[in-house]
Symmetry: C2
Subunit: 182 residues, 2 copies
């Protein structure tokens, strides 16, 4: 990506995050995002297929930045807390993307980011393994289960609170198979 | 619900399941379901807001029937296997509802059914508790995590296979926090 395209993308991401902070996602139009980011429609569609996809991309970039700061050697608890701090900071955006469950692209991005983190965790800790797992299918199921479980827990947390990161971290780690936490 | 309404609902459910077995959900129209079930549009909308909602309702009713057959005292493994047998029987319907993740109403119905089963499981086995859980929020998070994790695992299974119930049951139980299985 050249520097100009990168700057435009950064502007589009900042605009969609700012707008989605005060307007429910379903009501946000491509025209509003274009006006705020000062780009034309053609430019928008070179970056995203619709507003939901652009918001998912912007949130994914923030999660990447949060996780990168941690360093790959940080423990599961620190990674979980960093993820939930991101969600708490963007709680209004995430809540605005629920109807009543998270918009599919936003949910998929969250699940993808968590799956990526868990695969990296397994790569760094090859001694970690589900007790009953016998092959790669079992391991991929374990990763999918933990990622989908974490997103469902985050959805519930957003519905009832979305602020108390410490108690959500404790509750989600308690709900996680303990062999992940070794 | 009077007997006539119940018969109409049964016909609508049978029609949407038959049609969704051979046509991707996104391509199915209310008109096609009405023609197959021999009802008028107004009648359709008294039962469901759209085709996706009707399909979710029809699949939910099948899961209810599967679970009811089991009896409430059956173990977690039998319940998991019964759920996966239902998914395998309806694998073409579920796959047709993925783009690429499950349509939100279908996913929500699956999650709701599993959450309901897990709450009942906890009610029957009050000795079951997440090791780190301290309050009802933690317990609801544990239920949401297990239900969301199971649905995400089912999505992966549908993508790669969706037929081998025995290995999917083993893999999903291995991915489940072991305190659920006591």
């Amino acid at each position: 990506m050249d520097a100009r395209t990168a700057r435009t993308r950064a502007r589009l991401r900042a605009s969609v995050l700012a707008l989605a902070d005060r307007t429910p996602l379903a009501e946000l139009t491509v025209a509003e995002v274009c006006a705020d980011a000062d780009v034309v429609r053609d430019t928008f569609y070179r970056h995203a297929s619709d507003v939901q996809a652009l918001l998912a991309d912007a949130l994914g970039a923030e999660i990447d930045a949060h996780i990168a700061e941690l360093g790959s050697r940080a423990g599961m608890e620190a990674a979980e807390r960093a993820l939930l701090e991101h969600v708490a900071e963007r709680a209004r955006v995430y809540r605005g993307a629920m109807r009543p469950t998270l918009a599919p692209a936003v949910r998929a991005t969250l699940e993808d980011e968590i799956r990526r983190g868990l695969r990296e965790w397994i790569r760094l800790h090859p001694e970690i393994d589900a007790p009953g797992a016998v092959d790669d299918f079992d391991r991929e199921i374990a990763v999918a289960y933990a990622a989908g479980g974490t997103v469902a827990a985050i959805e519930l947390w957003l519905r009832v609170d979305g602020e108390d990161v410490a108690s959500a971290t404790r509750a989600i780690l308690a709900a996680t198979p303990e062999w992940w936490l070794r």
